[in-house]
Symmetry: C2
Subunit: 358 residues, 2 copies
């Protein structure tokens, strides 16, 4: 456990330093845009995705230093999607600090003396462009593994995988999530939600692992047994992680969570927890749950009533069972892989992500 | 002249067909997002940028078929910037049809029964994501020249040039243009405007030419004389083109222009024409011009007064002289290059772009 936390800290330091020293954002103009480009990737966070790149590389005996730019690339890629997501979801905070469009909005209001509406629009406009530059940065940084001895043909293959499979799956996942908000949540099917989760969370975990493995092996072979095992691990880990997120959103502690309890109900999100409930409740009892959708505010007694409903109908138990089964699958997926320290890190990650101590 | 128009039509057909048959957007979900991804690149337009790729390839005796995916990539790259620009500039039309965020807004209102405000926000959200997918598509399509026999190391180099130089220069140009709108137009300097123009228009023309030349030569050598000549041509062509655009915006014919006369004055844009005027007018006469900034509507007599002011102070003549000088420079830049049919196409393009018959 200490070994795991030490190793995750080491990844954080290595990637944080690499991103801070990366000259890419320096020539971006105006300087406020350049600052915005470096902002999120430099903020830290758990650095799970770069850890997956580095650990998969080490798992197969690769040279970690060769994989560092790829690990940074995956982190930057994740962050450009967050910049655009925060505009789309109107989120004003990211990791406890103002989100990109808010930072630029405040800059326009204070430094450029823009009127409030003009400043808000300028903030969104430049945040769109910041994410666009970050996508370019991520591609360039991945391609730059060729400067550390990776065969240029393999570097090109990895860039193509990033810009076809990862790009389309991740953005399609985000787009479906946005579309769900326009639909009656009960009209969304469980497979739709699982596929959305896999796009939004699983695809980049899978890509990170494949990237590290490909650099170690000198070949990108997504259909080979080792790559397929890593894919299975990623899909199950991402799904378990997302279901756990749904549970914490209702049953968690607001202080630990960092956002209001039941915000998924407020946004009328078709979470697995909600869908399990409406499939279990008889039709005449559906309004008991649905009256809690889109409330302006959730009182203690609202929260207690939602928790009781979800527990009594069996939905909470069903989701807990799914999380346990998915976690188990994720760990079992690792069995065909080399039995070494790095496989141990991946197994511990499953447990740690679920208890959210990382 | 007929040869030039026939050749440009051939480029249009070749690229249009390539983009229509490209499977990339097919797996994007929801299908409305996939349709949006293919929409602008499939609309046609002049196809000047792909022509620059193909003609530069032919200029140096390259295999045109190898360069076709690169030409499509440059066109798709240009189009993702248009999708995001149209959100930022709140443009509702693009090439005579609804812009991407408007198409998706209307889809959400009619098919998903979204309320007007919700539909508008959904339109912008999915248009952001459509541009994001298109950036990925452009990178993948450029990388795919390796499937047509281009050395993978060269393909990787071209991808890196696209995602470093082109990405940063183009987006920085757009960001400065957005920032200019927040500033007093007279506070913007002429070098600032020229640098913005080079970012927004010149960088992609230069990249297109370098791409075609690199595929023909089997090497990307931006500091070699041939590449430098192409850069000079691109910079001068782009600047001449943009200044001509400024002139037409005031002195042109509304029907041919497709937008209202004096819209740059309405948006208080620091065009070269405006900056030349305020540098020529004595300080006490500045209000005569500035009173025409940001009017809700421009009458015939407003337009006549603006035209007279710009002409009398010598600004219009100065900009016309600059256009002639820049065009001349663009054509002279071609002199060191092989004297063949394709160099002739590039020379004719300068004349045609300026008289806007293409």
């Amino acid at each position: 456990m200490t070994a795991f936390k030490d190793e995750l800290r080491r990844v954080g330091e290595q990637i944080g330093e690499f991103i801070q020293n990366d000259p890419f954002p320096e020539t971006v103009r105006p300087p406020a845009l350049g600052d915005a480009v470096r902002d999120y990737p430099g903020r830290g966070g758990k650095r799970i995705r770069p850890a997956l790149v580095l650990w998969a590389c080490e798992l197969f005996g690769g040279d970690r230093e060769q994989a560092v730019p790829a690990a940074a690339a995956v982190e930057i890629y994740h962050n450009w999607t967050l910049v655009h997501d925060d505009i789309i979801d109107r989120d004003e905070l990211r990791r406890g600090k103002p989100s990109t469009h808010v930072t630029i909005r405040d800059y326009a209001a204070s430094k450029l003396k823009a009127a409030p509406e003009q400043a808000a629009f300028f903030g969104e406009s430049l945040a769109i462009l910041a994410g666009d530059v970050q996508q370019g940065w991520a591609v360039e940084r991945l391609a730059s593994v060729a400067d550390r001895g990776v065969d240029p043909a393999l570097a090109l293959t990895l860039v193509r995988a990033m810009q076809t499979k990862l790009n389309r799956e991740l953005i399609s996942g985000e787009a479906r999530d946005v579309e769900f908000e326009l639909l009656d949540p009960s009209a969304v099917s469980i497979p739709d939600v699982m596929s959305m989760i896999n796009g939004k969370t699983g695809a980049i975990m899978e890509f990170a692992l494949h990237c590290g493995a490909a650099i170690a092996k000198g070949a990108y072979e997504p259909k080979s047994p080792d790559f397929v095992a890593l894919s299975r691990y990623a899909v199950n880990l991402a799904a378990a992680f997302q279901l756990q997120d749904d549970m914490l959103g209702v049953f968690g502690d607001e202080k630990v969570l960092g956002k209001p309890i039941c915000s998924d109900f407020q946004e009328a999100k078709p979470t697995m927890l909600y869908l399990e409930a409406i499939h279990r409740l008889p039709a005449e009892r559906r309004p008991e749950l649905d009256k809690f959708l889109r409330l302006p505010h959730y009182t203690e007694s609202d929260i207690a009533a939602i928790r009781a409903l979800l527990t009594d109908c069996g939905a909470a138990g069903a989701v807990r069972d799914s999380i346990a089964a998915l976690s188990d699958c994720a760990k079992k997926s690792l069995q065909p892989l080399p039995d070494n320290r790095w496989r141990g890190m991946l197994a511990t990650l499953v447990e740690q992500l679920l208890i959210r101590s990382v």
